[in-house]
């Protein structure tokens, strides 16, 4: 879609507008009730609190865009967390080595998922359910109960800040750039095509197996980063550190505007979803509301985000048709496919998304 600059801008911002608006509203509310939030210290805390979910959600979003679900994200983080807490030494060399190893383990985890889904053709939800048991078991083998530790230097690499800029922000910027670059490669295009309509994609020359495996490996790479950050943040190991994060990661993906029927959305927008979640928690805390309400509020926001995802497109299309400016393009707008209905499942059902990316 090389067109007028305004159209290119529209394409670039497509799907991001909603999450950005929601995040903006919450940020303003937060700044009003808690002006101290604007201090460097608070901003670093906000980033450190959101980054694990943000990184994991980017990975999960890639799998979702490719038309699958990855339930193994939690135990993937756990495995990487305990490996680092048990084996990483105090020397810079050992720490650098283990950063690379953690990313490699992440890719390996993705590779196993990818092989099960793409080559053995096991539905992703089942395959990743099994691998989540598997890696949970491996995590317990490495470390039976919470313990281990990592050095402060290592923690600071991730959770510190330079001249008021949180390192986490830099990391997330790099991740966003990496994703935006991948999105333009053959792999990125294949991921979107497979998630949009697998049969049509294959008929149009997308190589199913390498592309799906690639999607899971890429997701694993980001789980590796999330595991590194998790370890830096907690500076200890816990074989069940990632388990409770699964639902939160999915919430972040949906809040980021990624369609669960695959093929639509932007993985980097899941970062925004993670921040929305953290800010909701912080705002409620600042207002003195019991933390018991947090999950009720989060769930309600999730449902509202879904309703907006599914039904928002209808309003937007109506408006566009009404003004007649972009009427011709209304068909492949975001709103068409979040159908949600009973067939809205992994690897199927969504209308073909043609020629956009």
């Amino acid at each position: 879609m090389i067109g007028a600059p305004s159209e290119r801008l529209r394409n670039a911002t497509k799907g991001i507008v909603g999450p950005v608006l929601v995040l903006g509203v919450f940020l303003v509310v937060y700044a009003i009730i808690q002006p101290a939030f604007l201090s460097t210290m608070q901003i670093t805390t906000l980033f450190n609190g959101s980054t694990v979910i943000a990184l994991a959600a980017v990975g999960e979003a890639i799998v979702v865009i490719a038309g699958g679900f990855d339930l193994s994200v939690g135990s993937s983080l756990s495995v990487i967390n305990v490996l680092l807490a048990v084996h990483m030494g105090q020397s810079t060399g050992s720490q650098a080595l283990w950063i690379v190893l953690a990313l490699a383990v992440g890719v390996g985890i993705g590779l196993l998922n990818g092989v099960l889904v793409a080559i053995l053709r096991i539905p992703s939800i089942v395959a990743t359910l099994a691998t989540s048991f598997f890696w949970g078991g491996v995590a317990l083998l490495v470390l039976k109960q919470p313990g281990g530790s990592v050095s402060m230097t290592f923690s600071n690499w991730f959770t510190g800040s330079h001249a008021g800029v949180p390192n986490a922000l830099l990391l997330l910027l790099v991740v966003t750039l990496v994703w935006l670059a991948v999105k333009r490669t053959r792999l990125g295009i294949s991921i979107y095509a497979l998630g949009g309509d697998e049969e049509a994609a294959v008929a149009n020359g997308v190589r199913l197996k390498p592309s799906l495996i690639g999607a899971y490996c890429l997701a694993g790479l980001f789980y590796g980063l999330a595991g590194l950050f998790l370890t830096a943040e907690t500076s200890s190991g816990d074989p069940n550190a990632g388990g409770p994060l699964l639902l939160t990661v999915f919430t972040a993906v949906v809040l980021g505007g990624v369609s669960l029927s695959g093929g639509r959305g932007d993985a980097a927008a899941a970062i925004l979803g993670a921040f929305i979640l953290t800010i909701i928690t912080d705002v409620l805390y600042a207002m003195g509301i019991s933390s018991f309400y947090t999950s009720i509020f989060t769930g309600a926001v999730l449902i509202l985000a879904l309703v907006a995802n599914v039904w928002g497109g209808q309003g937007a299309r109506w408006l566009r048709g009404f003004t007649g400016i972009l009427g011709g393009r209304a068909q492949d707008d975001d709103g068409t496919g979040g159908l949600g209905g009973p067939r809205d499942l992994p690897a199927g059902g969504s209308p073909p998304a043609v020629g956009v990316r």
Partner: protein, 348 residues
């Protein structure tokens, strides 16, 4: 919308080359014809394969430990599998329509904490508390169903959101620590034995539940509509099935099953605790899949799911009796699920 219709029709023609499983019950009368037709039905072959795996598993288990595979062992395993089997019925009927119910864990925990909190160990109070819990489960299911059917939200996320919200409700009700004890009548139902200890009461519960479940799914018009919606929602709607009410119906059933499962589980542990239902999200999904149902909907039998639940419980019971570390147990468990899924997989 037209391309959506084509799309669905295309996927239906590729995913269901076999004649529809539903509605075959009444037409054939000659027993030989019925038998031959059953034998030729791939879905029934799958269920038989699941039972084959179960029997093989029990036979092989004798090599691990001579006490495994005995009548007593089978009795324990079948009794323990009730919790999974009950909630997997709900998960299974939702999956038949092409959805998922991820709100099972919190619904189970909520019904358990409400039960112990309200009945406070009194059997007399169960007269109104148990019906109330079933109603709570049904209401949760209706909430899910309305989101999925009316608002057309993705089932996986709708039920995920419900699960998250209920998590908060549980914390609010219990204030972090569940109170009270399970009423003796429920404890007796779960832990008691009939015929001088030969037959655990929970197995009677399981058999009764299974009979009801099979009747509902395969011998009522509601059951036929569930399969129809799962095979192809568009065709179902065009043939006059009110898909919306069927969808709400299956989520309500799943909610009620979760409430039953939660109450039974509190009878097993004599009290309720936070996170009581948590393992059952993955267990219910695994039981349905190992039981040979298609995860994409439209195909599957509860008898398969039941065998799936027993297989999973048998494996975890056997593993519990070994000296393997918890980590190894979990790894073996994962491998068993993958192997079972590959073994019973229907050629799609």
């Amino acid at each position: 919308m037209s391309h959506t219709v084509n799309d669905d029709a295309a996927s239906a023609s590729t995913t269901s080359p076999v004649p529809r499983d539903s509605g075959e019950g009444g037409s054939a009368t000659h027993p030989g014809v019925v038998l031959r037709r059953m034998w030729g039905n791939r879905a029934i072959q799958t269920v038989l394969a699941v039972y084959g795996i179960l029997i093989l598993l029990l036979l092989l288990s004798r090599f691990i430990n001579p006490s495994y595979g005995s009548i007593g062992f089978v009795r324990t395993v079948v009794g323990l599998s009730t919790f999974t089997a009950v909630v997997a019925f709900g998960q299974g009927i939702v999956i038949l329509t092409g959805g998922f119910d991820l709100s099972i864990p919190s619904t189970m925990t909520l019904s358990a904490v409400l039960l112990t909190g309200m009945a406070t160990g009194s059997s007399a109070k169960t007269l109104w508390v148990i019906p109330l819990m079933l109603a709570v489960g049904a209401a949760i299911g209706a909430f899910n169903g309305i989101g999925v059917a009316l608002l057309r939200l993705s089932p996986i996320v709708m039920t995920l959101a419900t699960n998250t919200i209920l998590g908060g409700v549980i914390l609010l009700y219990t204030n972090g620590t569940p109170a009270g004890f399970t009423p003796p009548v429920i404890i007796h139902l779960v832990q008691g034995r009939l015929f001088g200890g030969a037959l655990p009461e929970i197995i009677v519960v399981l058999i009764g539940f299974t009979v009801l479940g099979v009747l509902l799914l395969n011998y009522t018009s509601f059951g036929r509509r569930v399969y129809a919606v799962g095979s192809n929602p568009i065709v179902a709607r065009l043939s006059g099935v009110r898909t919306g009410s069927v969808l709400v119906g299956v989520y309500v059933i799943s909610g009620v099953c979760s409430a039953i499962g939660g109450m039974l589980l509190s009878g097993y542990s004599n009290q309720s605790y936070l996170g009581l239902g948590d393992p059952y999200l993955l267990l219910s999904l695994a039981a349905v899949v190992v039981g040979g149902s298609s995860i994409r909907g439209g195909r599957g039998y509860y008898l398969g799911t039941l065998a799936g639940a027993v297989i999973l419980t048998a494996v975890s019971t056997m593993l519990a009796g070994t000296n393997l570390s918890q980590g190894f147990k979990q790894i073996v468990y994962a491998v068993v699920i993958i192997v079972a899924v590959l073994a019973v997989r229907q050629r799609e």
